[in-house]
């Protein structure tokens, strides 16, 4: 689906009117994402996550290395619109990415740009809004929606382009906890039910425990890649790059360090409870005999 080889990206920084310098933001990034996966990209501020995301939608081009989307090189100008309809994009600030003055108008923006027939557009808009659970709000003004709803509209907007992959760049960063849950739920649903490949960029570690793969970035490098279990097992590395970990994970890890035979990493509260119960039962059994 997405194949990145030795990607390097440098931003030009104008120090003064005449003097410019290059800042390397992505350094030799190699990455492979297979179809249907839910991949989370985790990393502290300024680690290059957004820059990487923009490469997936050809909003930026590599300075070195290559990005292939579905086998198409992003440097190939002819493939541009193909790639953009393969990969949909959702950004952090919902207010700055909603174009339409009503919900359905906004969702229709992508298909309209593709010059599709009206009936097909109406179908796609209805389907996309249904998928994010906002069909009843189709005539509303985006301005009147809650943050979580706005972000779901943005997801529907990406979805209406019938992409096979959606890249979400910190879609929950400006939302409250309830809205975050609602958006993450929709993302998981799209991945499970529609089989859409998801690249979820975030710095909330609790949002990534359900991912198939986590990519941990720091200062333009991928410093770790693996399942949530593998990544959270390396607790010290996460702490070193100043990432928060879910509370239960941290608690379990600290307990383990105190000598309690808890199996780390613990990712969810349920897991923590079962783990504690197991230890309790074990302890009781040992006392019994």
């Amino acid at each position: 689906m997405i194949d990145i080889k030795n990607l390097v990206h440098r931003y030009t920084i104008w120090e003064s009117d005449t003097k410019k310098s290059k800042k390397t933001v992505l350094d030799d990034v190699t990455l492979d994402i297979s179809p249907g996966q839910l991949v989370a990209i985790l990393g502290p501020n300024g680690s290059g996550k957004s820059t990487l995301a923009k490469h997936l939608n050809v909003l930026l081009l590599p300075d070195e290395g290559t990005v292939w989307i579905d086998g198409k090189d992003t440097k190939d100008a002819k493939a541009l619109w193909d790639i953009r309809s393969t990969v949909g994009m959702v950004f952090q600030n919902p207010d700055n990415q909603i174009v339409g003055t009503s919900v359905e108008e906004d969702v229709a923006f992508g298909p309209e740009n593709k010059n599709l027939p009206s009936t097909l557009i109406q179908e796609k808009v209805a389907d996309s809004l249904r998928a994010v659970g906002l069909l009843h709000k189709r005539k509303s003004s985006p301005f009147r929606l809650s943050g979580g709803q706005k972000q779901r509209v943005a997801i529907a907007g990406a979805l209406a382009g019938t992409p096979r992959c959606i890249v979400l760049d910190e879609p929950t960063a400006m939302l409250d906890p309830a809205a975050r849950k609602e958006v993450i739920h929709v993302i998981h649903k799209l991945n499970k039910e529609a089989g859409i490949t998801i690249v979820l960029i975030t710095h909330h570690t609790d949002e990534v425990v359900g991912a198939d793969k986590i990519i941990l970035m720091n200062q333009g490098h991928i410093i770790q890649e693996g399942t949530p279990k593998e990544v959270f097992d390396n607790f010290e590395l996460l702490k070193k790059v100043k990432m928060d970990v879910p509370q239960v994970t941290e608690l379990a890890w600290n307990l383990a360090r105190q000598g309690i035979p808890i199996k780390t990493p613990v990712l969810t509260e349920e897991q923590f409870v079962t783990e504690m119960m197991r230890i309790y039962e074990d302890g009781k059994n040992r006392e019994d005999c």
Partner: protein, 268 residues
Amino acid sequence: MIRDITIGQYYAQDSSIHKLDSRTKLMGVLIYIVALFLVKNPWWYLLLFVVILALYRLAKVPYGYLLRGLKGIVILLIFTFVFRLISTPGIPVAQLWIFTITGEGITKAISLTVRIALMIIGASLLSYTSTPRELADGLEKAFGFLEKIHVPIHDMAVIVMIAFRFIPILIEETNVLMDAQASRGVEFEKCSVWKKCRNIFSLLLPLFLSAVRRSSDLAMAMEARGYSGEGETSRMYPLRYHSGDRIAYVLMFLFLAGVIVMRVVNIY
């Protein structure tokens, strides 16, 4: 003040007026304004007022909205009224300090003020019953012939759309900025006009910076969704005349013809 602005407020309803093509409604507003300028006798404004009331009713827009549109131009209305009142020559009926109020002045003042007010009320109905998108599309179609002489009508329509989309956001942002500055001791409500201007200027810079940031974000989001600024695009709801539009056009032209006849025959 800024908090009261209600431009581009669509009032979602399922009514026969909402269903009309925006071009029909644009024509309707045009005819209504022409009619306002054609009538001579102030009493006729009453009839025109009844017409617009009926249209609001038909559109299922509450009458409270009638006044909302006027709120923004209250000063203009008062100014027009007073100015006409004291500056029309004729038979004096009252003397206020150095100003003479004439009988003609009273009639003129009332009719001019009412005319402006009705114009705004009529135009507001258009914006209550058509989404900005429909309006932009309508204007685009109506002025599409200008593309031939290289006036970028399509681009303008997109710009108008986005402007409408961002008006409420920027208004809200202004309110936040005003509150933020007010909480640090800046007064917006109770101070001299001069100071007010200076304070408002201090809002403009952050507002401008944020607008620039927003537009660069938006440009990227639009590009990601396939907007290129060129090439054919389609519409989810293409503008199309229905039977309702035909009826509306007939009624509108009958109405206009009636007003013209009235004017020419000069009865009343």
